[in-house]
């Protein structure tokens, strides 16, 4: 156990969490004091979101002890955590889009008091007071849906404060903010800290919030690997501790200028999602598409695969034009899509590994109405082997695999269909560090074999490690095109946010 300050607000001791045999959090100690800002850093799959979920009472720790405000809790529930003053602001803010700013801010406090009647004056009073506390001015009657992202975040912060938050946990607070908005957020955090409110930032890119933080805690593969005053860390040492590696990943091989155009996208337009999208993808090229949350990168990716129907524009694969808005023809033409959310969009969770791989190839293994199980198993098994999925039995449920291996199952599914273009949306989200670089190696290999690959991501190191060219999107428009070779991470981040 580390040194625990006497007045600590939250003390977590030896907290461990197992999911079906996978250790998500391994004997982690963690403390926060009033008025302290802590950066909780780690890559995807490091266990930082698990830690937060346990603190918020959404998940129960397998073992360990949690003390909040001097009271020891055996098990937490979302209600207990909220009552103890722990408030989480998730990336989507979980606001009621159809209610006003005032109603959103005062809603949970009003609920907590079991009031049966709605008192508009009272609600506005609470909202006004809370907004004054953070020193911002937003019209109380505005419907939240119509607010810009940064203001929604402020409303979420105010809602937490109105419910007497003593600790506010912010999940990826800067992902969707421009530079100026980030600096406003930091001012507000400083005010909160003076008020004695503690803050935990959860992120995988924290250079921005480092300056208002006292402490940094770094998780890797479920273990706490480093902890110390924020002033002793810089971007390089953070990265080193997060990845456990010093060396940068192999950078992508240069583009072959003579490679023919594979995918030609012209004037693609979808009202409210993206507009005027033009680009080419060459054979063997890895093209990145990046942008902040809500920049239109995901709708664009889905549109290329037919899951979103664009109003106008053209997609040509080779010299054949593809019907817009139909995944079946897109897939038949040779476009594959690995979705962002593996668990809900990618996998059939209770089904076996082999079924998850072979779903797109069932018709090809059917002879006179009868499935040839042997050839189906052989083909799926071969692909899993080629992608180095470690499993004793491909007949076991796909849930028995780790995140990285699950991602390879989805990749195998598409590779078995011999795609010409592969769209990877967040190829390493929720994948551990080791698997991540292996997935990047797979991407290199696939590109080498002539497949055109589009990587959609906001993970900048990932884009730089895999892509030869990166398109930057903002508010649905491609604002920038950069060569992956000649740009640094900071410069790319600046272009995305400015």
């Amino acid at each position: 156990m580390d040194f625990v300050p006497e007045n600590a607000l939250v003390i977590m001791e030896g907290v461990t969490k197992n999911y079906d045999g996978v250790v998500a959090l391994d004997n982690v100690d963690f403390t926060v004091s009033p008025g302290e800002a802590v950066c909780l850093v780690g890559e995807n799959g490091s266990g930082k979101s698990t830690l937060i979920k346990i603190l918020a009472g959404v998940e129960q720790a397998t073992s360990g002890r949690i003390t909040i405000g001097g009271k020891v809790y055996d098990t937490l529930s979302p209600r207990l955590s909220a009552a103890a003053g722990v408030m989480v602001i998730f990336q989507d803010f979980s606001l009621f889009p159809n209610l006003s700013v005032a109603e959103n801010i005062a809603f949970s406090t009003q609920l907590g008091k079991n009031r049966r009647l709605f008192n508009k004056k009272h609600v506005y009073e609470i909202a006004r007071k809370t907004l004054d506390r953070v020193g911002v001015d937003i019209d109380l009657g505005t419907i939240v849906e119509t607010l810009p992202v940064a203001h929604k975040q402020l409303v979420a912060i105010c809602r937490a404060l109105a419910s007497n938050a003593r600790l506010i946990i912010m999940d990826e607070p800067t992902t969707a903010l421009t530079e100026r908005e980030v600096s406003i957020l930091l001012d507000i955090i400083r005010r909160l800290k003076k008020d004695g409110v503690a803050v935990i930032f959860v992120s995988h890119k924290l250079a921005e919030v480092l300056e208002v933080s006292e402490k940094v805690v770094i998780l890797r593969n479920g273990k706490k690997v480093a902890q110390g005053p924020a002033s002793t860390f810089d971007a390089a040492s953070l990265t080193r501790n997060m990845t456990g590696r010093d060396v940068a990943e192999a950078s992508p091989r240069p583009i072959d200028p003579s490679a023919p155009v594979l995918l030609h996208v012209k004037d693609l337009h979808k009202e409210g999602a993206f507009e005027n999208i033009n680009f080419d993808l060459h054979e063997g090229e890895v093209l990145g598409v990046s942008g902040l949350l809500g920049s239109g990168r995901t709708p664009l990716a889905k549109a290329l695969f037919g899951l979103v129907v664009p109003e106008k524009g053209m997609i040509k694969l080779g010299d054949k034009s593809i019907v817009l808005g139909d995944p079946l023809t897109a897939a038949a033409a040779g476009i594959g899509y690995v979705p962002e959310d593996r668990l809900t969009e990618g996998l059939f969770l209770t089904q076996s590994i082999v079924r998850n791989v072979s779903i797109g190839r069932l018709d090809n293994h059917q002879n006179a109405g009868l499935l040839n199980m042997k050839s189906l198993f052989r083909e799926s098994g071969d692909w899993l082997k080629r992608l180095k999925v470690k499993t004793p039995d491909i007949g076991s449920p796909v849930t028995s695999l780790s995140g990285g291996n699950q991602q390879r199952v989805v990749l195998s599914r598409w590779l078995s269909r011999a795609p010409k273009v592969l769209i990877l949306n967040g190829p390493s989200v929720g994948v551990d560090v080791g698997s991540k670089s292996e997935i990047h190696d797979i991407i290199h290999e696939l590109a080498l074999s002539g497949i055109g690959i589009i990587v959609i991501s906001d993970d900048l190191p990932e884009l730089l490690a895999t892509c030869q060219r990166i398109l930057v999107m903002k508010s649905g428009v491609i604002t920038d095109e950069v060569s992956g070779k000649n740009i640094t991470e900071d410069e790319l981040a600046r272009r995305m946010a400015s």
Binding site: A331, L343, G346, L349, Q351, R355, Q366, S396, P397
Partner: protein, 340 residues
Amino acid sequence: MNNLSPKNNMFSSPEARLAVIAIVVFITMAALSPERFLSPQNMTSMAFQFPEFAILALAMTITMLTGGIDLSVVGISNLSAVIGATILTQFAGPDIAGIEMAMWIGIAIAISISVGMLAGLFNGIIIAIFGLPPILATLGSGLVFTGLAVALTGGSAVLGLPSGVAWLGNETVFGVPVPVILFAILALGLSFLLARTSFGLKIQMYGTNPLAAQFAALDVNRLLMKVYMVSGVYSAIAGMVIMSRANSAKADYGSSYLLLAVLIAVLGGINPYGGYGRIIGVVLAVLSMQFLSSGLNMLQVSNFSRELIWGMLLIFVMIVNTQKGFKLNLGKTPQTKSGK
């Protein structure tokens, strides 16, 4: 049966539990009134009774595997039986015999089954293309089909069928009742379809996660339409068996079979949210229900209390099969969809 499906503990599988239930119900009923329940007459009458609702339960099962439901099975079976019977009475009549009779019965059955298929296609279209929730879509279409049958017949039974019609529901082949043989063929067929055909695997995958099926570029609309068409065909076949046993067709025969078919599918371990289920479970559930129903009959429990018992049983089984209910009851984890 199926080495592609995820492995699960033998004793936690719904099928193993069902086998136990079927045996317990049989023994209980046999103990309560041994001389009547175990009599050859009772055994024979049970064998002739269950196939008609068992086939409807199979029709229900295939739609439930996609996470849907077909509440129009009884409506379809009556509509197709009424149409088949009308053809027979109009063109053949009760006195027809020989080759001519066989021909007309063949034509009537072919048309009835086509009617079932079209009704299923109608369901499939309103569910897949127009995106209506299956439970409401088929509740509505079931009323439409029943209404059509009423309109065709004026609500009265269609009587005066050729004598050969009775064969399907009342005769035996090598001592086995014909409807039992028919049910066995249909159950094996469905079981084979699910385990060994691309269509069957896609049904289960779609039922597990419809969104992922879309992202995997499955032809979801065609799949759903085919599923409801199979359900319609099975319902029509059940309608033929009912017509044969009743020696007539009517718009409101077998109205208590709807609840029974849902109950059997759920009791048979078909996950009502889709994706998991085995036909052997449905067969075991059919047997349990027939034992229970015959037993209750012998104990002189009224028809109305029987429906009450079935309704309560349905709710009870669903509670036991949910994750929470299971923890409360037996402390093991059943096969259900996670994350929903």
